[in-house]
């Protein structure tokens, strides 16, 4: 048996196993068996870049359709240092993230209390039921034109749109979180002398946190997609705006930079929310 750093790295990649490993004879159909293939992720990324480079080198497509990877990298450096259309890349990204966060947080701040109200009160439930049932199936993208008519192409219309996109998701998540409680927990709290307020803050709220967090992750994903789409349709700044303009001038390298950044940021948001979830709600899934 060998525990050298090289062995550990190879083991991490899933190429070899280190130490004694219990072997299962049934692997096909066992979800555990498909874990640990990090090496294949590296292979797939390398493969994509090789095909891309090969396509460019053999001129399978013109540079307008498919710029070489080097062009994408240099475009990235250019806008990262010189900026694009009067604003630096960081300003475009910053404005997009600002709209995302403000819209999302507003959606949470208003959606979560409404969801709690709907799960806890007949009046609130009855009042919001028709509104929620009507608004929920409308894709946020369908509201883009209206948001532009009402509020123009600046921050306001984007924030309003993302607020709506997050709102209904958070209402439903918070409501499901409250309704999912085991009644015996509520009963236990009352027999232990808790007041309604204490039951709300010490029992109902923490019990709903896992659902709320799941809702927040979904809402973040939807908001990010909606924001980019809204910036593509009509905006004065932002990462979506940047790639629309670049597209109009056939600056394909820049379009690629934008797409890659959008993907990376979206993934980074989801990963960090999952980390935060694991940190804040260690009991999730263990009940």
């Amino acid at each position: 048996m060998n525990n050298s750093p090289l062995h550990l790295v190879l083991a991490k990649l899933g190429i070899i196993t280190v130490g004694e490993v219990a072997r299962k004879t049934v692997t096909f159909g066992d979800p555990e068996a498909s874990k640990g293939g990090l090496i294949w992720g590296i292979v797939s990324v390398l493969l994509i870049f090789s095909i891309w480079s090969l396509a460019v080198a053999n001129e399978w497509a013109s540079a307008i359709f498919l710029p070489p990877p080097s062009e994408v990298v240099s475009q990235f450096w250019k806008i990262a240092t010189d900026g694009f259309r009067g604003s630096s890349l960081w300003e475009h990204l910053g404005i997009s993230l600002y709209r995302l966060l403000v819209g999302f947080i507003l959606g949470c701040l208003i959606g979560i209390p409404i969801g709690f109200g709907m799960a806890l009160s007949k009046v609130v439930r009855g009042f919001f039921d028709p509104i929620v049932e009507f608004m929920r199936p409308i894709p946020p993208l369908a509201l883009i034109p209206l948001s532009i008519i009402w509020m123009g192409i600046g921050n306001g219309s984007k924030i309003f749109l993302l607020f709506l996109a997050a709102l209904w998701i958070m209402v439903l998540a918070a409501r499901a979180g409250v309704e999912g409680i085991r009644l015996s927990k509520i009963h236990a709290a009352y027999t232990l002398g808790a007041s309604k307020k204490q039951v709300l803050l010490r029992v109902i709220l923490p019990n709903a946190l896992p659902e709320i967090f799941t809702g927040m992750r979904v809402a973040m994903g939807v908001c990010w997609g909606t924001l980019v789409a809204a910036e593509l349709v009509g905006a004065d700044a932002g990462i979506g705006f940047m790639i629309t303009v670049a597209g109009k001038f056939l600056e394909t390298g820049l379009v690629f930079v934008g797409i890659i950044l959008i993907g990376i940021i979206g993934a980074a948001i989801d990963v960090s929310m999952r980390k935060a979830e694991a940190l804040m709600i260690p009991w999730k899934g263990k009940v």
């Binding site: 085991r182 015996s184 927990k185 009963h187 236990a188 709290a189 009352y190 027999t191 232990l192 002398g193 808790a194 007041s195 204490q198 010490r202 029992v203 923490p206 019990n207 946190l209 709600i281 260690p282 009991w283 263990k286 009940v287």
Partner: protein, 280 residues
């Protein structure tokens, strides 16, 4: 009125959503003295949980009354409060241990046990003392900082018991508290419940599906029958008292114990048969 739980001609009729009604309890009356331990047996659907929920104050019966006469009419003489015996809602003087899943997963073991005192505004350091004391009572010293989901089912029920005790209820209600445990753990927990009953002198009412458990733990045993839910037969038994000093195994071996057990078993068996017959 003597102190204790007084149940007077309770009836409970549930309206079913699709129309029709279920008579879950009919004309149930009894008095449970302070310090007595009662176990309740019966086929499922005979109204055991309904009865316990009425005593806990979660449900109001459709007829009759449940009252709990406690001794304390105390408090500082300036704000002399007379405790209202009629049960109208949950109260800290009537604690409940649920089957499982009623612990708060977002709190540590210690926070769960200290929940009741915390609600009353007991200072932090006093709560810590209380928590330590009850961790010891249920044999979980050193587990205070654990998360509840890290514990086995038996340990979780110990925490539930400690959480209930830490709130110092006068009456402890338990709805199949050991139902989900394996046989060995169950036996240990039965011993623990007897020990606590003996040491604290609390009044206890416990629902169980196991006839043996009912005999071990019940000074008084109610066998309930369904449709309408009622108390079919009551026993007064010596085993709970004896179990404080003798081993439960030895008691189980005695002839009288197995006789009573067989008698109750066949009674419940017949009820179950009848239920099955009616459904067919």
């Amino acid at each position: 009125m003597a102190t204790g739980l007084h149940i007077d001609k309770i009836g409970m009729i549930y309206q079913l959503p699709g129309g029709g009604e279920v008579e879950a309890l009919k004309d149930v009356s009894f008095h449970l003295d302070k310090g007595e331990i009662l176990t309740i047996l019966g086929p499922s659907g005979c109204g055991k949980t309904t009865l316990l929920n009425i005593v806990a104050g979660f449900l109001v019966p459709t007829s009759g009354t449940a009252s709990f006469y406690s001794e304390q009419i105390s408090g500082p003489s300036t704000s002399r409060q007379v405790l209202e015996p009629l049960i109208t809602g949950p109260s800290p003087e009537r604690g409940m241990v649920f089957q499982q899943g009623a612990l708060f997963e977002w709190m540590s073991v210690a926070e769960n046990i200290g929940f009741g005192p915390g609600m009353k505004g007991v200072p932090k350091n006093e709560i810590n003392t209380i928590v330590e004391q009850y961790l010891e009572t249920v044999g979980l010293q050193g587990f205070g900082n654990k998360a509840v989901y890290e514990l086995s089912g038996g340990m979780q029920q110990r925490v539930a018991l400690a959480r209930c005790l830490a709130n110092e209820p006068e009456l402890i209600l338990m709805d199949e508290p050991l139902g989900a445990l394996d046989a060995l753990t169950r036996e240990k927990m039965q011993g623990l419940i007897l020990k606590i009953w003996n040491e604290t002198g609390k009044t206890i009412a416990l629902i169980t599906h196991s006839v043996e458990e009912a005999l071990f733990l019940g000074q008084r045993v109610f066998v309930m029958a369904p449709r309408p839910g009622r108390i079919e037969k009551e026993y007064r038994l010596p085993y709970a008292q004896r179990g404080v000093n003798e081993s439960l195994r030895d008691i189980k071996m005695t002839d009288e114990f197995s006789q009573t057990r067989e008698e109750i078993l066949s009674m419940i068996w017949e009820m179950e048969e009848e239920i099955m017959g009616r459904q067919e």
